[in-house]
Amino acid sequence: MSVVTLQLGQCGNQVAHQLFHVVCSDAQNAHKKTYRAESCERFFHQNTHGELVARAVLVDMEPKVINHSLSEAARSGRWRYGESSHFSQKQGSGNNWANGYCVHGPRHRDVVEELVRREVERCDRLAGLVAMMSVAGGTGSGVGAYVTQCLRDIYPTSFIINHLTWPYGTGEVIVQNYNSVLTLAHLYQLSDAILVHENDTVHRICSQLLNIKHISFSDVNRVIAHQLGSVLQPALTTDSHGVYSRNPLGELVSALACHPEYKLLSMCTIPQMPSSSIAYSTFSWPALLKHLRQMLISNTKMEEGIDWQVRPPGGSGRSMGLTGGSFNTSLANLLILRGKDVYSAETGGFEDPALYTSWLSSKEAFNSWKSPVPFNKYEKSATLVSNSQALLRPLDDMVGKAWNMFASRAYIHQYTKYGISEEDFLDSFTSLEQVLSSYRHLC
């Protein structure tokens, strides 16, 4: 039961590299043999020398990041990338989605498909594909969307999940909102679920929880990888009957994204702290879960600054917190608990029907996975993957900014020259407005 990862573009390659690093070190530090074996089978295969080789395909239009990843992985001595499971070019996509989607994607389609096919054929059983990319740039977003489309054609019944990194709101790239809108609109049709990390949120976690002074991309990526790893590492699910789930992606999607209009998943993990402090901290499940629950309903992505005033709506309407934060309605939640005494953890707080929409019972909307093995050095940790209104505001901002630029036709010629017409833009706007409206009226 294996997961094949696609690393697309600079961001995708860096985050995925970090994910393999986290997963591998977590598995090797774990004392439970079955956990270790299961985790290794999920993410790695063994080559003839007995080395762990990541089940990954690396794609970028520039060689720099891929070369760096390959050598870094080999240097770790724990795992490596496959000798020929990467593809790069000399010329990047220039942060232009259209260039990636209309030019680079189709041009290198065969090579990339062949690489993926080889990885898939190495799996005894394919649990699914995870494509990791950012939405702001050109290669990750444009080529990524194109490759996802090709994968959907080749593997129509496999689970395909996209992990997207959303750019800083202040902007890394001038056309990032165009790229984001086009990527999201395309992926929404193709992907089974879209896992989202916002750079802004993760940045705040780095500065406030991890106390990092000069935050680099690798710090941000490490946090993302930690959260992702805690979801993707082996766990006991309701369907797995006492053994580690053989179908992580399928069960994730079944638990969270069964409705075609609601595919955006956000994540938060507790606790997160500098590794030096972990040894001096004690955790209790009730406290962790109480915090996590309040983080969910007040839509706070980290332990600090939780608005404790927000309450689930009673009989009438939705209640507002004193600070003006409103209640975050969930469609579905998946709680993943890892660590000591995990079976004693009481998750009843998440089964409150008031947290969910009226049309889905909390029994269907809430799922929990458990693993007695501590994850990534934390004695106890809880991750919540949530299909809720949490991403409504950032998505709305993104679409709003893109629309303002589009209204003045700014930079549009950069896209039309590669074959993305204004009509295509309008289609993308329309479909995202539909998504926004669906989430807005979730109650």
Partner: protein
């Protein structure tokens, strides 16, 4: 022309061969050869036993008739088969005939009747039932369907919340299906690996126990594949079979009596019997005259209507409708005059409320024992006994005149009814227009 006919017959033979293979694959015993089907179409006597066996085997497999009914060809056994057919909704004359009829020679049963009964069984989905049973036997990993809790449908409201919930549940099911599919793929892969490993190390008798299980599993899967392949082959050519079956029905209609000529009436005593029979045919024909036409008009209107309100008005597909329509004709031919010609379950209420014609046909009945009554369908052209002399005979010309008159009357009546039906249908369409149809 000859060649096409020949190629058609070859094709039919192949198609029937496909059916036979499928029947054998679902576990039905004593399946006749394709050639027997052809002979049975013409009422061959030798095939009768084979078809009794076949029907009884199918009915037993399908659980309609208890298997204790046995397979010996006694009268008792035939009663079981007839009862089984009756249970599946098939009705024919011969089923009501007493055994004594045999001796008297009035028996109208031929192998064609049994062939038609077989056609009925196939059309009513018995084959699919048998197939499902067999697949469940062979594939032990299949989950038998869990009884669905139907209370949901009662409280179901078509508001947007329920719709969303339904979409969610559908999506959930779809995902579960994909998970199962990938499990199946893994299983196949592993089985293949084990199988090929077994082949390479043939002399490993130590693991005999596990390998027997595997072998059984393997042979089951092979049978399953054969079965599904047979079904696939059948479904691809099924259409040809039904066309052929139509020709069997036609054959049945045009030459209803195969064994009758053997009891040629020799005197006036017999005349009465045959005369009555001819009269019944005629009356039946007259009965059919308006209804058959009504039926046609009705069908053509229905196709138009079905464009708008297909799923709501009738659940019948037009093909089935035709097939059943034919069966209907056949049934009436068989002499079920109790119904006013048309199956009420098949028709919407306004068609079955036709004014009945018997009064008119009664008028004609007394006088029409003559050759060549006005015929509207060639298929009823059978030999009305010309040698039969009856006291209430009329001159031919007069009879023809009367018949023509009757025809005009009936045609008028038909036109009126057609008009009425059309207005009614239009009203109904008007009402249905207000409904919002949600595509499946």
């Amino acid at each position: 022309m000859q060649r096409t006919k020949a190629s058609v017959s070859v094709e039919v033979k192949q198609v029937i061969g496909a059916l036979c293979r499928l029947l054998a694959a679902v576990g039905v015993d004593s399946v006749p050869a394709p050639e027997s089907f052809r002979r049975a179409k013409f009422g061959g006597g030798a095939e009768e036993d084979q078809f009794w066996q076949l029907l009884s085997s199918i009915l037993q497999k399908a659980g309609v008739v208890p298997s204790e009914a046995g397979s010996q060809l006694g009268g008792e056994h035939r009663k079981w088969v007839a009862a089984g057919l009756w249970q599946t909704g098939y009705h024919a004359d011969w089923m009501y005939e007493s055994e004594g009829g045999d001796a008297e020679g009035g028996r109208s049963l031929s192998s064609r009747d049994l062939l038609l009964a077989l056609g009925w069984l196939l059309a009513s989905g018995t084959l699919e039932k048998l197939l499902t049973q067999r697949v469940q036997q062979l594939d032990k990993t299949l989950l038998t369907s869990v009884p669905v809790n139907l209370h949901l449908s009662n409280e179901f409201q078509s508001d947007s919340a329920s719709l969303r919930r339904l979409q969610w549940l559908t999506g959930c099911l779809r995902h579960q299906g994909r998970i199962l599919l990938s499990m199946l793929q893994e299983r196949t892969r592993l089985l293949h690996a084990v199988f090929s490993a077994n082949l390479s190390s043939t002399a490993s008798s130590s693991s005999s126990q596990s390998s027997t299980v595997l072998k059984e599993d393997c042979s089951c899967i092979r049978q399953l594949c054969d079965l599904l392949e047979a079904y696939l082959n059948w479904t691809q050519v099924e259409k040809v079979f039904w066309t052929w079956m139509d020709s069997v029905v036609d054959c049945h209609l045009t030459g209803p009596v195969v064994k009758r000529p053997t009891h040629t009436p020799s005197g006036n005593l017999r005349v009465c019997h045959h005369g009555t029979w001819g009269l019944e045919k005629l009356e039946d024909m007259l009965l059919r005259l308006p209804t058959a036409q009504e039926c046609n008009t009705h069908t053509s209107i229905r196709t138009q209507v079905s464009v708008f309100i297909a799923s709501i008005l009738y659940s019948l597909s037009s093909q089935e409708g035709q097939r059943r329509g034919r069966g209907d004709v056949k049934d009436r031919e068989g002499g079920e005059k109790g119904q006013a010609g048309l199956d009420a379950s098949f028709l919407p209420p306004f068609i079955s409320s036709l004014p009945s014609v018997p009064a008119l046909s009664q008028v004609c009945r007394a006088r029409l024992r003559v050759e060549k009554p006005v015929r509207h369908r060639s298929c009823t052209a059978e030999d009305v006994h010309s040698g039969a002399e009856a006291p209430c005979e009329l001159p031919v010309s007069q009879a023809a005149e009367m018949l023509l008159h009757a025809e005009t009357l009936l045609l008028e009546r038909r036109d009126r009814q057609r008009q009425a039906n059309r207005t009614q249908l239009q009203e109904m369409i008007g009402r249905q227009d207000l409904l919002v149809l949600i595509p499946p």
